[in-house]
Amino acid sequence: MYYVPTYTLYYIVFEVKMENKIKQLRKGVFELVILQVLNKDKYYGYSLIKAITDNCSFDINEGTIYPILSRLAKEEVITSQWVESTKGPPRKYYMITNHGKEILKGLGKEFKDLADLVTKTKSMKKKGAAKSISDKKKIYPSREVKNG
């Protein structure tokens, strides 16, 4: 039965850490995504999650959108309205408020700045990289001649 503790240890060391990091990273972004979708049109929960998952390459627990929506509604960033449906039970439609549009603008700009920062720092050159390359050339001058 030592598989249980072994897995537990593996889970503690790796998965929990990684999972938390990913959760943290996505947390804010998902609010932005929801607001962006609602900024285009009004959606009910199921159609909203479909609109998101259609563009999404990883699994999402569909249900967890509802706590987020309910919080956004409480903050008056979005509003909701029940509408009868011919296909089944009534649907609760969500719409972005004017306050929400302002928030979206702010969040969108911030996200763009952050994304730019990520791209820029990723492609940043190593400190002293240029120097070490020229050093190599000095050490192996013959290779350069061969290639040329």
């Binding site: 889970y11 998902f30 627990n61 987020i68």
Partner: protein, 229 residues
């Protein structure tokens, strides 16, 4: 597709919504009803959209996509919104694969016993862990108090037990009550700290155990269900 579920599907949905409800304690009743109504609407739409499989297979798939109530409506939501790919499914296969490798048992009815065994072991681990952690914490605290009492009144424990030495490991004895007391307090302090550390760490360990527990009990339910059918 009409406006209603088939009867057996409705039972599953109602059971699910009931479980959602239990995770919404503390939410005002009007909000709760509204929420349940909304989730029901979602599940219905999702079920109507599901084309492949029989009724039961379809609704189970829909509910799986929606997520377990505990996961979806935990306090940490919306953090729970994000599954990391399919990683969460891997451990069960590893676990069961390992079990098959060790015991050479196919997972049919024999698996039922095995999984019950796993659940039992988990329960045992949890109980033992807490017993040790709580034992350390309170034992340590008691030791600190005993040490202090011994410094203030060196006769106290002698009168109580009739034994001479406060710290007494075979021939090892200390004659100075203050030194004895300080030593006792120090050792007890370390013990208490270890106990509290264990209690603190338990939340991390139990997240791992919880996952195994959920996976095992899910599998158990599946097996039981198959058996019924």
């Amino acid at each position: 597709m009409g406006k209603k579920y088939p009867e057996n599907v409705e039972k599953i949905v109602n059971d699910y919504l009931g479980r959602v409800r239990t995770h919404m304690k503390g939410v005002p009743e009007a909000d709760r009803d509204d929420f349940i109504k909304e989730i029901n609407s979602h599940i219905f739409e999702s079920y109507s959209d599901e084309k492949n499989g029989d009724e039961i297979g379809k609704i189970l798939k829909v509910l799986k996509k929606f997520g377990e109530p505990a996961e979806v409506f935990s306090k940490s939501a919306p953090g729970a919104m994000y599954k990391i790919g399919k990683e969460k499914n891997i451990p069960l296969y590893i676990l069961i694969g390992a079990l098959i490798a060790v015991f050479g048992l196919p997972l049919g009815f024999g698996g039922l016993g095995l999984i019950l065994g796993i659940l039992g072991v988990l329960l045992g681990i949890v109980a033992a862990y807490y017993a040790v952690a709580i034992g350390f914490t309170f034992g340590g605290l008691a030791g600190i108090i005993a040490g202090i009492i011994h410094i203030i009144d060196p006769e106290f424990f002698m009168n109580l037990t009739g034994e001479a030495g406060f710290i007494n490991f075979g021939s090892f004895q200390i004659s100075n009550p203050t030194v004895e007391g300080i030593l006792a307090i120090f050792v007890s302090f370390v013990l208490t700290a270890l106990g509290i550390f264990l209690l603190f760490m338990s939340k991390y360990i139990f997240r791992g155990l919880k996952t195994i527990w959920e996976l095992s009990s899910k599998k158990l339910k599946e097996i039981l269900k198959r058996k019924k059918d």
